[in-house]
């Protein structure tokens, strides 16, 4: 079976030789190509090449069209990213500096005509041509309730959300939701077939249950309803969300849940059950200091909890650059070994 077929089998509860194994080695691509991050991320060809080399080396089941979190806001006018060859890039130019900028914010009619889309499109085309028939092509899309954090900074977004004028807040959210509609359509048309919906405010670690129900859920519904939830993965940016899985499934219809490493995997598996896919995620920040043996032991533990009964995928979180290569090897070897149904 191809990795794509293995993923489909895991979702549908059909027999497969092993669980799907996903990984995200983003910044590692620059190191692999011997480039600075700024140079690497300036061209879609570089990112595609980096992704293909990482996948070929370690053998996991997916590739990413994501350059870095923050790439999306370049489509909305962000002009500066702070690159650092030791880690992930930061948004350094906030598009919204005052509430007046919210009224001025324009969502492009056709995202694919925007110069900032061109490199993502190039990357996706290469990935699709090279491995699209057999492997998952992942895209990363930020929910309307979280995109403002990239547009104005998390501090200013919390201020507007919790204490600011409701009409200004809602205008921004509407624009972010409209942006999501265009973005998801563009990624689907370009061939992305695993759409990671990043929605940290969809976790009660960010807002309480009451606000989750009255704020997060309605905006997620507005984001997702027009395009549907086919291939959508619920992901809260490493925050746990077991306590809302039932509501998300009922209200939004999403079936695939990419958990936090802090989540109780057994509990999540019991909630998601046979109706979808539970993605168990390793705490890869600990992998910086773990030994290969400790890494293997953790993968074994996750697989032993998640694998019985199928409907389970092994995945990674942020995969910092400082993880030793031996630990990446150990993690993936263990995932294939302990994730085997043979």
């Amino acid at each position: 079976m191809t990795p794509l077929e293995i993923l489909a089998a895991a979702i549908n509860g059909q027999p497969a030789p092993r669980i799907p194994v996903f990984c995200n080695l983003l910044d590692q691509g620059a190191r692999e190509l011997g480039m600075s991050q700024k140079e690497y991320y300036s061209r879609g060809e570089n990112v595609a090449e980096g992704q293909l080399r990482m996948r070929a080396r370690y053998g996991y089941d997916n590739v990413w069209s994501l350059f870095y979190v923050g790439k999306e806001v370049e489509l909305l006018g962000c002009r500066e990213i702070l690159f650092d060859d030791n880690g992930s890039p930061n948004v350094a130019d906030f598009v919204i500096k005052s509430y007046d900028d919210i009224a001025k914010l324009e969502i492009p009619d056709d995202l694919t005509a925007h110069p900032a889309w061109a490199e993502t499109a190039k990357c996706l085309k290469i990935l699709k041509d090279e491995v699209g028939a057999t492997h998952s092509l992942c895209a990363y899309l930020t929910a309307s309730s979280t995109l403002p954090a990239l547009l104005m900074g998390m501090e200013k977004w919390m201020e507007l959300l919790m204490m600011g004028p409701a009409d200004v807040r809602d205008e921004l959210l509407r624009k972010c939701s409209d942006f999501y509609h265009k973005e998801v359509a563009a990624f689907r048309a370009a061939g992305a077939n695993v759409l990671v919906y990043s929605t940290p405010f969809g976790s009660t670690s960010f807002v309480g249950m009451k606000r989750f129900q009255t704020f997060s859920l309605p905006w997620m519904k507005r984001d997702l309803e027009p395009g549907g939830v086919n291939n959508i993965v619920y992901y809260c940016g490493m925050a746990p969300f077991n306590n809302v899985i039932d509501q998300v499934r009922k209200e939004l219809g999403i079936g695939v849940y990419y958990l936090s490493p802090m989540a109780d995997l057994a509990e999540a598996k019991a909630i998601v059950g046979q109706q979808g896919l539970t993605c168990g995620v390793i705490d890869d920040i600990k992998m910086i200091h773990w030994t290969p043996e400790e890494t293997r032991a953790e993968v074994k533990r996750l697989c032993e909890i998640g694998k019985p009964g199928g409907h389970f995928l092994f995945g990674t979180g942020v995969m910092p650059l400082s993880i030793p290569e031996a630990n990446i090897h150990a993690m993936l070897e263990a995932a294939f070994e302990y994730g085997s149904y043979a």
Partner: protein
């Protein structure tokens, strides 16, 4: 009467209701409660209770942390204007986001709580070089350097806390300054703070208030 005010204020803070918190404080003032009593018997106990609640409560969330700090800072600022005598400051902290990191929310939450706890805070902003943390701590006669880092490389890299520790060692300043760190990477690896050379860490911005106050007392005793 004070007990009822304390209870109502705590509920408003827990519900992240800033308007209600201010109504309670204003009502208390009109009923003859002093600004000093409001800060020391209402605001500070409420912050301390939120600290312990947040640690125990699995449903505690970022919005609650943010509003706890915001309400505490704003009420304290208003009340300080009405104090008969300036309050005694328990110590000083310089705070900033690690070099290479532009995230400012965690720092703001910590600062709000510290202000209410009568700790003087010097905000160094974001993307702060290690040398500046130390120079500013000395210039302000601070007891604690607080470093916020939301990204793995700024939390664990050579130019953040590790370099601040190295400078303290080189300049023989370790006895008079403590380092505290906070931010998402430390939550995922609770031993990370030790490997980067910090003296302590806090899992959230509100709890950081207590950790920092403890470190100030530690330095002052030594």
């Amino acid at each position: 009467m004070l007990d009822a005010i304390i209870k109502a204020y705590k509920e408003a803070v827990f519900e992240t209701d800033k308007e209600a918190a201010f109504e309670i404080v204003n009502r208390a003032l009109t009923e003859g409660i002093t600004a000093e009593e409001i800060v020391f018997k209402v605001v500070i106990p409420a912050v301390e209770e939120m600290m312990s609640l947040i640690v125990k409560d699995p449903d505690a969330n970022l919005a609650q942390h943010f509003m706890t700090a915001q309400i505490a800072a704003e009420v304290t600022e208003k009340m300080l204007e009405k104090f008969q005598h300036p309050p005694e400051i328990i110590g000083r902290v310089v705070i900033g986001t690690a070099y290479g990191d532009l995230h400012s929310l965690g720092k703001r939450i910590v600062m709000g709580c510290l202000k209410a706890l009568m700790v003087e805070v010097v905000d160094l902003g974001v993307n702060v070089p290690a040398e500046r943390f130390v120079d500013e701590a000395l210039a302000h006669d601070a007891q604690v350097i607080a470093i916020s880092a939301m990204m793995v490389h700024s939390a664990n890299g050579e130019n953040g806390c590790r370099k601040v520790r190295q400078i303290l060692q080189e300049r023989g300043l370790e006895a008079r300054l403590r380092i505290v760190v906070g931010g998402a990477p430390y939550r995922f690896d609770s031993n990370l703070y030790k490997s980067v050379g910090a003296d302590a860490w806090a899992g959230d911005g509100v709890s950081a208030g207590k950790v920092i106050v403890d470190l100030i007392h530690e330095v002052k005793k030594s």
